[in-house]
């Protein structure tokens, strides 16, 4: 069962190496990029508060450091142990979604939050990670014949649709779409026929008008506003107009740190959360925003590298799911800020203020780092599963 004949055989015995060895094998370049992004977040939140570590920047960086330690801790856990926990984690995730429907507190018209051990958690954020893990566990020993067999793939589809439906019910359209996309990407990585995806996309496109009918009023308002932002300058379109002014006024080199007029004059409500990117773009200009884009893509690329270099299917698929999740966060947030897609409550990871997304992203990175550390791990045969 040697996976890569070029590697010396002893490196396959992953259980034999100790903590120090494992620490050496952590992808420290990845950790450095993540820390750099958190540093950008600190600078932006410091500016959002008008040049003060309170009330955003300080709390956020403390949460980040705490979560970084947790992530490194997870990286030390054998990926096979994590793989065994996939389905239980998925079950817990679904349970939390049910709990939040029953008892969660309402924020901005949607029931999304619950408090766990003093920490605010959006179960839908965790669900994305747990879904990728569960699907990877399902496909980890699947043969090409099986992945080509619709009957074999159907339970996986069900595993995607259950949480997506629950998240839609919250209602949280943005996260539901992201969750579905992550599931689809993992299926694609697992080797499911590509034209099935084309079929599903076509069906969704055709049924869009029907779906629109079932959207909540605020979701419809967002879409209408997106299509015509000028229609209500101080209503829902206000954010888009003001954030575009913020981006555009940045120019090549920006208005200077702590001197962005749109930011400091408070034209943007909630600028420390979803619209935090505009602060960077306004105060550091195109060069600043391009640097942040580069950093974001470096993280996505390093995550994909972990996926490609991993010898076991489980690790590849989970890493693909996690990198996709991070990519979708960035894509949805940046497009929203630039007025490319309707505004939708998705933060930009590690920069936006808020603990829930940070917690979820860092937990995912912990699993990703564990995959990297244990990328040559040997998974036992089906009889031992």
């Amino acid at each position: 069962m040697s996976l890569d004949p070029a590697r010396p055989r002893r490196r396959l015995r992953d259980h034999s190496f100790g903590l120090a060895h494992k620490l050496l094998r952590v992808n420290w370049l990845f950790v450095a990029c993540v820390c750099a992004l958190a540093g950008v977040g600190y600078a932006a939140l410091y500016s959002a508060a008008g040049g003060s570590p309170q009330p955003y920047a300080e709390g956020q960086i403390i949460r980040f450091i705490a979560m970084l330690i947790v992530a490194l801790g997870i990286a030390m856990v054998d990926i096979r142990v994590i793989a065994k926990a996939s389905w239980p984690a998925y079950a817990v995730g679904v349970l939390l979604l049910l709990v939040v429907m029953k008892f969660g507190h309402t924020g901005l018209g949607a029931k999304r939050w619950i408090t766990l051990g003093g920490m605010e958690i959006q179960p839908s954020e965790l669900m994305k990670l747990f879904l990728a893990m569960a699907l990877a566990a399902y496909f980890k020993r699947a043969t090409p014949e099986q992945t080509g067999n619709l009957v074999f793939v159907l339970p996986a589809l069900a595993a995607i649709l259950v949480p997506v439906a629950l998240i839609l019910k919250e209602p949280n359209l943005g996260t539901a779409v992201i969750t579905g996309t992550i599931g689809a990407t993992v299926l694609l990585g697992a080797g499911v026929r590509w034209w099935w995806f084309a079929l599903v996309i076509a069906v969704i496109a055709l049924s869009a008008p029907v779906l629109y009918h079932h959207l909540h009023d605020y979701q419809k308002a967002r879409i209408i506003t997106f299509l015509n932002p000028g229609s209500d300058p101080l209503g829902a379109g206000y954010n888009i107009i003001q954030s575009q002014i913020a981006l555009g006024s940045g120019g090549l080199t920006g208005q200077g740190y702590l001197h962005g007029t749109q930011n400091q004059l408070n034209f943007l409500p909630e600028k420390q959360t979803d619209f935090v990117f505009t602060i960077i773009a306004e105060e550091f200009g195109y060069l600043g925003s391009l640097s942040v884009l580069g950093l974001l893509f470096a993280i996505i690329g390093l995550a994909l590298y972990t996926a490609v270099s991993c010898t076991h299917v489980y690790g590849r698929l989970v890493a693909l799911g996690i990198s996709t999740n991070f990519f979708l966060y960035c894509f949805v947030n940046l497009s929203m800020v630039m007025g490319l897609i309707p505004v939708g409550g998705v933060p930009i990871p590690l920069i936006s203020y808020g603990g829930s997304a940070l917690t979820a992203v860092m937990l995912g990175f912990g699993v990703l780092m564990s995959i990297h550390v244990h990328r040559y791990a040997e998974f036992a045969g089906p009889d031992e599963a």
């Binding site: 996976l3 101080l234 913020a246 120019g251 007029t261 994909l304 590849r316 693909l320």
Partner: protein, 628 residues
């Protein structure tokens, strides 16, 4: 194995495809950003500069302070003022030059305005001139086109209807300092005031309110086209004091030209019904800025008008301390109602002689009589028996020399000495020091507020503490219910003995406070006089008697009186201190008499509406605007 390798290659292919797609999306985002930030930069830069929606914050109305019946004791009065919003002026310097030509502004104010314009955010308006008169306003209105960003609007100034009558308790407000305005941009708003003393200071957070904003749409010339949104903010909360304005005015009258303080409490819950300190000052002067000559006058005045003597004036308690000494002795078991001690008019300790008041020989007496006639020699001996630390213990129980947790700023703790305290100060404690402690002289220093607390605690046997705010934003504050306060933990029989002594002080012809007895039917007051030396008399002066009226004012003893009533069901407690007023019975007790008579007639304690309707003197609504 080949199969696995092929599978992995297929995954790598798909992963790279996905990665490539993501890279393309990032490229698209970067291109869109290029379009926004570089290609369309000049358009958006202009939009940002003349952002069509300009927002400015407006100061909230400061909360009112009223007496317990709703009479305003700190309110707001409207006036016109000129503000300047930089965000609306393309060339701020030019606008300011034009403005200074039209309206006369003193040079130092011009400097202040220039500084504010430079240092403050563009959306915070800068105050150009308060209290505009009609010629100023006409000049500004006519020249509006030359003054973009200059606005005339209604501002509020703080007014105090009782003027000096409640200045110390309510305190005053002033403009925030430059550093305060820098630390909190809200305070930089014109019209914002910060409480500096008294309730204005202690309740500043509640009184301040939350600023609102005005959003206006402006054209490229900075002219306001229309007001888009107007949020007046949340006015500060009303603070309803426990003070009864009628009682308060009576207390101020009673103090007259003297220097001193009066504190009257609801004995059952510690609410401050009256708190006066004399001489006083006009608190509204601080809102506009105190003229230099007035300030100098205050600073030079030997009677310290700015000090709230009720909360921070420290006085030797004199004989008003005797009940505490007696309670300490009874608790220690060295004194009871039958104990008889002899006063030959003096007390010898070693070769030092301590005199009784006026060298009077009181003979063989019990503790109640010793209180009644205020015999010093009796208490010299009691103090020696009980010892200094146990006296201090009982003083702590009575609220003396401790932090009373009052809802007022700058409340002095005072001092009741202990052996540890003496040791820490390097003071060699001799028995003679304990002897004078028995009559409240020596190191002991207490505030009138603490003395009022003490007499309320003796009266009720409850550990009440003083507090002046009855309601904040309409919500009754903790401590307003007598049941909020714990039992004092002093033996009821001991308290009964002391109360009997205090009853005899006021209601028997031999009592030192007999002159202040109430003339109301079926109700008696109990109290204790005090005459506290403030000056170490020389041997020559002692020959004449230290309370000689011929002494210079600042060498005369302080006059004190503490009392409560009704005797059988205490509801009111009062402490009066007249600085250098000689005998307590002579200058302090009459004030207590008048206050008690008023209180027992109108019975404000525990009430939110006057007993006899709003027409009652002092409680009617005062003619003051309640603000914007």
């Amino acid at each position: 194995m080949r199969k696995i390798a092929r599978e992995r290659a297929a995954f790598t292919r798909r992963a790279l495809l996905i990665g490539g797609g993501q890279a393309a999306v990032f490229g698209g985002i970067a291109a869109r950003l290029y379009n926004l930030q570089i290609t369309q930069h000049s358009k958006y830069a202009l939009l940002a500069e003349h952002n069509s929606i300009s927002e400015r914050l407006v100061a909230p109305e400061r909360g009112l302070i009223t007496d317990r019946f709703g009479a305003i004791v700190a309110g707001n009065q409207q006036h016109w003022r000129a503000l300047f919003l930089q965000a609306m002026a393309p060339e701020p310097q030019l606008v300011l030059e034009n403005f200074f030509k039209l309206v006369s502004i003193p040079p130092e104010e011009q400097t202040r305005i220039a500084q504010d314009v430079q240092s403050r955010p563009r959306y915070i308006p800068v105050l150009l001139k308060d209290y505009l008169d009609w010629p100023d306003m006409a000049a500004i209105e006519i020249n509006t086109p030359n003054l973009p960003g200059v606005m005339v609007e209604v501002g509020a100034s703080r007014v105090y209807p009782l003027g000096p009558g409640l200045a110390h308790a309510v305190g005053y407000v002033a403009r925030p300092s430059q550093s305060e305005a820098r630390a909190d941009t809200v305070l930089a708003l014109p019209g914002m005031r910060v409480g500096r003393t008294g309730v204005e200071d202690y309740q500043d957070e509640s009184l301040r309110g939350v600023p609102g904003f005005v959003q206006t749409e402006t054209n490229v010339h900075g002219e306001v086209v229309r007001e888009v949104a107007h949020d007046p903010g949340t006015p500060g909360q009303t603070v309803t004091l426990a003070i009864d304005a009628g009682l308060q005015q009576l207390a101020v009258q009673g103090l007259g030209d003297n220097a001193g303080a009066v504190v009257m409490l609801d004995a059952t819950n510690g609410e401050v019904l009256a708190m006066a300190s004399a001489p006083s000052f006009d608190p509204s002067l601080f809102d506009k800025g105190v003229p230099a000559d007035v300030w100098d006058g205050w600073m030079k005045d030997p009677k310290h008008p700015l000090q709230n003597k009720a909360t921070s004036g420290l006085f030797a308690p004199g004989s008003t301390f005797k009940p505490t000494v007696a309670l300490a002795a009874m608790k220690a078991g060295v004194l009871d109602e039958h104990t008889i001690l002899t006063c030959p008019g003096f007390f010898k300790l070693g070769d030092h002689v301590f005199w009784c008041d006026n060298h009077t020989a009181h003979g063989s007496i019990t503790v109640t009589t010793a209180l009644q006639v205020s015999c010093d020699v009796f208490f010299y001996q009691v103090a020696l028996r009980v010892g200094i630390d146990k006296i201090a213990d009982m003083a702590t129980t009575m609220g003396l020399g401790v932090d009373l947790q009052a809802d007022m700023p700058n409340v002095a703790t005072g001092l009741v000495p202990t052996l540890d305290w003496a040791k820490s100060r390097g003071i060699h404690w001799v028995q003679g020091s304990t002897v004078v402690q028995g009559i409240g002289q020596g190191y002991t220093q207490l505030t009138p507020l603490a003395l009022a607390t003490m007499i309320a605690r003796i009266a009720t046997g409850t550990a009440v503490g003083p507090h002046i705010a009855r309601r904040v934003g309409g919500v009754l504050q903790d401590g307003s219910d007598p049941n909020d306060w714990p039992d004092l933990g002093v033996d009821d029989r001991h308290l009964a003995i002391i109360r009997q002594g205090l009853f005899e002080v006021v209601n028997t012809p031999n009592g030192t406070g007999y002159g202040a007895r109430l003339t109301l039917p079926n109700v008696q007051m109990a109290g204790k006089t005090g005459t506290a030396q403030t000056h170490d008399n020389t041997a020559a002066e002692k020959q004449q008697g230290f309370n000689d009226m011929t002494m210079a004012w600042e060498q005369r003893p302080n006059a004190l009186f503490v009392a409560y009533a009704p005797f059988d069901n205490p509801r009111y407690a009062v402490a009066v201190v007249i600085e250098h007023g000689n005998y307590g019975a002579q200058s302090a007790a009459p004030i207590a008499h008048d206050l008690m008579t008023y209180a027992l007639t109108n019975d404000p304690a525990g009430r939110d509406a006057p007993l006899t309707g709003p027409a009652q003197s002092g409680t009617q609504a005062l003619p003051v605007s309640s603000g914007a």
